[in-house]
């Protein structure tokens, strides 16, 4: 709008007004006055009051540019301190199929009126400008729709729950996407389940379609939260739900039920076809959690074996998807990052806060991958905080956990 108005004011007239057509009742309006100053506002009066304007805005019936008697133009259409209007022409801005708005050109009395060639040029200009404006509007409308639909699929903001640190990081395989086939969630305790349930998983495939499946799994899991005391049962129910719903779609995931035990944190972990989480002790020792199980969504009957892990202050349980270990590249361009490298990197992360570990791992992988391609990458860390402030332990003190 601004560009259309300023180009028009510069090359076609002393001042230009662009009125855009939107779904809202009050049409936005941009005025460039005779000194090149820009004002944005909305249409202040009835469009119908201006002869030819409402037709131009509707784009139907098709109307040519229309001269109107300057005196019949309402005040809101004329820039401040413009002086006497010599001539005024209203041109429709046709868009792609739908009208984009109208362009009003104004010249002062001392200037010559528009001649035929100028009018034809103005018409051409309006055609181009209208197409650009309507493309911009369509783009804006679509991106709003995408945003609304995407909202539920984006990785959640993970924060500390009941004095346990949670931190998550996610990077989709395609940089232009914001969503993909990996997911994580942290469900704080509720009436039916005293523990926090953290989930991290990976569905087959990439991109938007995979993201839609993650959305289904996340919703199903949310509904199954009251069953979180029995991981085996929860996984069986989820498996059933996925089996009946989709063909050739499967997922792997890790469940972690987290609760505090004094200053320690106790986690019940169950893997379903997923790489087992790594436990990083405060002194830098790295252990693999002893849990395994079948993947979800393929077999009618699944088995799983859970484990329980106790984190002392400064210990971290790190859950990750295979995008981390299978990142391929490195300085020589053809090496897989691998679990050994990850373990070695984690030995230097003893005692670090959850978000620092997540950022560290993400950065290592990003550096490893460089400009190369990679799978979706998700990391979720659960850490027993090292801090000594008992006042902050309840997790509600402002500026401590909740800021």
């Amino acid at each position: 709008m601004e560009v259309t108005a300023s180009l028009a004011a510069e090359h076609l007239a002393d001042a230009a007004v662009v009125i855009a057509l939107t779904t809202s009742r009050r049409h936005p309006l941009v005025i460039i006055d005779h000194q090149g100053r820009l004002t944005r506002s909305t249409v202040a009066g009835a469009v119908e009051a201006v002869p030819g304007l409402s037709e131009a805005l509707q784009g139907f019936p098709p109307v040519p540019s229309r001269w109107i008697v300057p005196a019949s133009a309402p005040g809101w259409l004329i820039p401040e301190d413009f002086g006497e209007v010599g001539s005024l022409v209203i041109t429709p801005l046709p868009g792609h199929g739908v009208p984009a708005g109208a362009l009003v050109l104004l010249r002062r009395t001392q200037q010559a009126a528009f001649n035929e060639a100028e009018e034809a040029f103005a018409g051409l200009f309006a055609a181009r400008a209208g197409a650009a404006m309507s493309a911009a509007r369509l783009y804006a409308e679509q991106s709003t729709i995408v945003d609304v639909l995407m909202q539920d699929l984006l990785p959640p903001d993970v924060r500390n729950v009941q004095g346990v640190e949670f931190a998550g990081g996610y990077r989709p395989s395609v940089d232009t996407d914001r969503i993909g086939g990996d997911f994580y969630d942290v469900h704080p305790p509720a009436e039916d389940n005293p523990e926090t349930l953290a989930v991290l998983g990976d569905v087959c495939g990439k991109g938007l379609q995979a993201a839609v499946l993650t959305g289904k799994i996340r919703n199903t899991l949310r509904a199954l939260l009251p069953m979180a005391d029995d991981h085996g049962r929860l996984l069986r129910l989820l498996n059933g739900a996925l089996l009946s719903r989709s063909r050739a779609k499967f997922a792997t995931l890790v469940l972690a039920s987290v609760r505090r035990a004094d200053r320690d944190v106790v986690i019940r972990l169950t893997c379903a076809g997923h790489p087992p989480p790594l436990i990083v002790r405060r002194d830098g020792t790295v252990e693999e959690a002893d849990t395994a199980g079948s993947l979800i969504g393929v077999l009618p009957r699944i088995t799983s074996r859970g484990t329980s892990v106790r984190l002392a202050p400064g210990d971290t349980c790190l859950m990750f998807t295979d995008g981390v270990t299978e990142a391929r590249s490195g300085p020589l361009g053809d090496t897989e990052y691998g679990e050994q490298r990850l373990r070695r990197a984690l030995t230097r992360c003893g005692g670090m806060p959850a978000d620092a570990i997540v950022e560290h791992v993400q950065m290592l992988i990003a550096e490893w991958v460089g400009d190369g391609t990679h799978d979706d990458i998700a990391v979720l860390a659960i850490t027993a905080p090292r801090g000594t402030h008992l006042s902050a332990v309840d997790g509600t003190t402002r500026g401590r956990y909740t800021a």
């Binding site: 620092a356 950022e359 950065m363 460089g370």
Partner: protein
């Protein structure tokens, strides 16, 4: 097209010991230093709560929020960088320290001034991980009354552009610390300007004098957060002119790219590293005794050298390459590795790239810079 708004704030501060000036806050570095030491101790101990206490006490003692942000937290973050370079801090330590600083910033009380300024977007360029400088700027601008959209680290340019279309900020501030992100920064700058949004850039990547900011066509450059805030407060940046820019291609800023050397060397970068690494193994018998990790470090070092070499090709500035090499030499020296160990790698690179005159000149310049060192 570009109005060079070089901020003189830093220079003015240096001249007037009082540091008072209309529109800027009072900076009393002597009291800040005391808090810097305290916060540094907490950050090193990875003790979030005592770090939060230090900041709370500093505020209680009368330090204003901007001074706490920039002269205490910012100073501690600078120290993290220098301590790492001196090998007194590991990369993991650096992340731990940064995480604590990040939480401390989140806990700062938000007291917004009554006057509400316009909207500003703050983001790091794609693949830039160092988010804290951008975060400090975002918070400083918030304190000064701007409505800030802070997009964080690693913002792909396509996300940035669709954000600009929707949010329509008055200015977008792009931050980059690593010079190797300059090509990505250039892409981001041109893309933002194409939406009609003026771009202010900052961060170490753009050079201490902002020379790469000018080269890449940014509308403004600021060496640090306070200066950026002052520049923005001084008045709106002129919008990049849409009409003339339509015919403007990114390559017009950098005519030297026409020789394709950047494109060709970048394309073969991985291959180049592999080749040089293998030859290095043949040349240096000592490498046979390297552990897997040491070999990987060596390969990484080579990859870094190639990255900086291609960036220097992109901006056509030998200083970018020689500065990196002398800096690496310092880092190596502080880790007990003689800086001369870089030379065989450079020579092998030069041999591989003998068909590229501009590249060869850069390597020669780098070699000269290194041979002056122990």
């Amino acid at each position: 097209m570009t109005t060079d708004r070089i901020c003189r704030h830093g220079a003015e501060l240096a001249r007037s010991s009082e540091g008072t000036r209309a529109g800027t806050s009072v900076i009393d570095t002597t009291t800040a230093t005391e808090w810097v030491d305290k916060l540094w101790a907490s950050v090193r101990a990875v003790d979030e709560y005592s770090a939060l206490d230090v900041v709370a006490n500093a505020l209680d003692a009368g330090l204003d929020a901007e001074a706490v942000l920039l002269d205490v937290i910012g100073a501690v973050q600078d120290k993290v960088g220098t301590e790492w370079a001196a090998n007194r801090l590991s990369v993991a330590d650096e992340h731990a320290a940064t995480a604590i600083n990040d939480r401390v910033i989140a806990a700062l009380p938000v007291k917004r001034p009554a006057t509400v300024q316009g909207r500003i977007t703050v983001a790091c360029v794609n693949n830039e991980w160092h988010a804290l400088p951008a975060r400090l700027l975002a918070e400083t601008l918030r304190l000064r009354g701007w409505q800030v959209a802070y997009l964080g680290a690693q913002v792909p340019t396509s996300h940035l552009v669709s954000h600009l279309h929707r949010a329509g900020p008055a200015v977008v501030c792009l931050s980059s610390s690593l010079p190797t992100r300059l090509p990505a920064a250039h892409a981001a700058i041109t893309a933002c300007q194409a939406t009609g949004t003026p771009v202010m850039v900052g961060g170490r990547a753009f050079g201490t004098d902002g020379r790469y900011a000018r080269l890449l066509g940014a509308d403004a450059w600021a060496p640090e957060a306070r200066c950026a805030a002052d520049t923005l407060a001084a008045g709106p940046l002129p919008a990049p002119r849409a009409a003339p820019r339509a015919a403007h291609q990114a390559v017009d800023d950098l005519p030297h790219l026409a020789d394709q050397e950047y494109t060709l060397v970048t394309r073969s970068a991985r291959h180049l590293v592999r080749e040089v690494f293998q030859r290095l193994e043949q040349q240096l018998p000592a490498m046979a005794g390297y552990s897997e990790e040491q070999r990987e470090r060596t390969a990484e070092d080579l990859a870094h050298i190639v990255d900086f070499l291609t960036t220097a090709l992109y901006v056509d500035d030998a200083d970018l390459f020689t500065d990196f090499l002398t800096w690496t030499a310092q880092i190596l020296t502080s880790r007990g590795v003689p800086a001369r160990s870089l030379l065989p790698g450079l020579d092998l690179l030069a041999e591989q790239l003998r068909d590229f005159p501009r590249t060869r000149r850069l390597i020669t310049a780098g070699r000269t810079a290194l041979t002056g060192r122990p």
